[in-house]
Amino acid sequence: MLQRLINLLICVGLAALLAGCGASAAEKKIDEPFIDELPPINPKIALAENEKITLEVWLDLDFTRNDTLFQEIAADFEAAYQNKVDVNIQSFVGESMPQKVRQAVLAGTPPDVVQGHVYAMAGQGLAEPLNRRWEDWEVDPEKEFLPAALAEVTWKQTRYGIPLDIYTLVWLYNRQHFDEVGLPYPGGDYDFAFLQTAAGALTNAAQDRYGLGFTTDPWYVYTWLTNAGGDVLTGTPETDFNLTLDSTSNIDALRFLTDMAQAGYGPPPTTRPRDYEDARELFLAGKVSMYMGGPWDIHLIQSTHPDFPLGVAQLPQTPAAESAASVLGSTGLFIPRGASHQDLAFEFMKWATSDRYAIPMARRLGRYPAKIWLQTSPYFTENLLLIPFFNQLNAARPYHLDLFPPAEDAFQRAIKASFYGVEPAEALHEAQRSVGRMAPGEQLP
């Protein structure tokens, strides 16, 4: 009996060993560079033996809602520092982050690390300058990060953050709908006229189907304006900024958009916050044939609806020709003013933006790190549907209106009003008038 027991134990042991080997083999199959290369820790960081530091990290809800990558990053970081650090991640809707940071800074209880549009945060005096820390880091920023992303963490020649990701908007369409109406897919040379014609042809009220999905989100609408050659803000931090909401180009572009809405080419936008998600939902439901979306939309559709007949194109050509551009977006990690554990916070920022997590972030979140090496990496460019996105990144212009919250609010009101019957020129003129003197949103002293 004893012998049987020993034999059984041996079998169980062997099975466990084989299972372990199997798991190990499966792990090895992960096709990612740097998978085994954790970022280095900073030996200069002195951590008390008996006291655990809690690092408060605020992240965009879109980065944590459906994936645990940042929890894993935090766990790795904690382990690297012998669990003397507790990374406490709080997630918020990205659009609400600036106001939350402002309140926290004013209350004297800022978190240690925040994800956001660093340019706007720095411009409002909400971020700690990091030039000295960048110098100590001993990396060459220009060789490491995309210039456009670096610009979005820089305010008046001072770096206030580390770029995390970069993105722009492209044109997403349903290939099956185009096939059904016998239209060619939007190629590299389609224009506004083609778009308008296609929107009309694809709209079929009987089938409850529309050619276009609309949004009133200012960041998205800005894409229309800048693609038509317009802009809402001119100037630099070193000079004065000028608000140009009601420029002729902007009025024409917004009118073109709202006219298509008035013509019934798309369902009226709900105007709720993040109503760009409505367009995506309608698109996935087959009720909308085209809409503007980001790489996260491509990722979401491909991961949740792998059989969806998704097509991706760059934005249409416009009379603005070479000066046309999509919107450029980039989030970074920064240290809010007055944060408690700034040394450790910067180490976490370096950790989270390291190469180790670049591919997982792209693959699992559909968020693309602003690393130069990634742009030509086969791991990054493996998805053919992303090619228009990469091309569009070359012609993208940053959106800086969030530097002036009242102006952005006025711009959004004008967009909403335009979609609901107000003449775009009138709405934009009113928005321009209501803003008054331009100062980076109630900048802190």
């Binding site: 004893l2 012998q3 809800l61 809602r65 459906n66 709080q90 997630s91 918020f92 809707v93 659009e95 609400s96 106001q99 939350k100 309140q103 009226p268 936008p269 709900t270 105007t271 709720r272 916050p273 993040r274 109503d275 409505d278 609010d409 959004q412 009101r413 909403k416 009003a417 979609f419 609901y420």
Partner: protein, 487 residues
Amino acid sequence: MKTSIKGSPAYQYYQSRQHWMTQLRSQAILLIIILLSLMFFLTIGVTFLAYQRVSQSLAESRDRDLASVSAERLSESMLDFARGLKILADQEQMQSGEPTLQEQTLQRGRDLIAEFTNNDGGVIILNPQGFVSVTRPFRPDLIGQDFSQETYFQNARAVPTSSFFFSDITRESTTGEDMIIIAVPIVNTRDEFIGVIAGRFYLNFQRLGQEIQKLRIGEEGLAYLVDRNGRLIYHPISKLIGTDFSQLEAVQRLQKGDRVGAITTQKQPGTVEGYAIVDVTGWGLVIVEPWSQAIQPAQEALIPVVVVLIIGLITVAIIVSLGVQRVTDPIQNLVTQTRQVTAGDYDAKVALSRIKEIRELGMAFNEMVEQIRKYRAGVRQYVADITRTQEEERKRIARELHDDTVQSLIAINQRLELLKETLDQPHEVRPRLAEVKTMVTGAIASVRQFSRDLRPLTLEDLGLTTAMKYLVNQLAQSEGIDVHLTV
């Protein structure tokens, strides 16, 4: 060629293992270990159950308290949301019912309603008929919408003196988004119902979950918030938000009016759940802790117990092994010595054990061997004596034959030689023949006597005792000595 399995190495190995298994020592140790293991597992089981009960009780108590305290904290947070709306509702311009003035009031009090307007559901004002008259931020899609059938509006209109109402999950008609609404009736100084100011939270934005998110319920625990219908207002797994959880026992207890409590669900995976009503809202907060986490302290507390028991088990096994060895070694020695005796070594002797029974067994063995040895010596002596006696008897027979029979036959032969020379003298032949005859008769008598001496007839006819008596008498008579026979 046919190979016998008995000759195979595997069979021999098996036989050797079997041999090992049949040893008294192995079996004794195995039996003791089995018994100790049984005791070990019983002890562990009983201890674990006891710890588990205590841990469960503590976990339930802790989760109940945690749920209660968290619900109070959440209630305070919710109250803060409502307080800002209430302040605005009490403003004179708000009570005027004029949308423009109401909008201006919202503008002035934007900090009070920032939580709503901060890219969330925003704030709306309904007129006395339930139509949306003002929105902040600007929501043209909502302006003019009829919300008169919404429960929160009807409640506010029915009881305008109430401070506020927290809705259950409701769906925004224009967007299809699930949301929570905090409604505050607007009543003027003449107690006339002017409308409702309502703050709205989209569930998707998880704004309401931030307070709950801060709760730390161990490594794997979680907390969720349900409305009065059992639908999830907040859950850490955002995909579940809006799901109907009314089938869960903790939620059902909340719906039945149980304000605070805790339960343990045994259904896999088991959980310990604390629950409490969030006072201001009427919603329910549930804290869920995996059963494995709840009993983790018990498991951790058991580790030293297990270690001590294992050390004890090993120690006892070693002691038992040594003890058994003290019993089995003398027995093994006895076996060895017995084999030596069997092989003919009668000098074998076992060392005496200190154990009484084993010592007595050893002494008996030694005595037995001594007896055998003596018996063997006696037998050997007997055989030697027999051999010697036979030899002497042979010598005696030879001597007898030589000294008597042979001499008689030689004398007869000589007489016959003399007789041959006197055959021609008849008168001398007759006496000589008579003399020869006498000599032959004497020789025959002597041989017969010799034969009788070798095996007396009396021995066969009368038996050994009588024969011996006969011999004694003969000896006494013939030799004239006094001989006594005792049998």
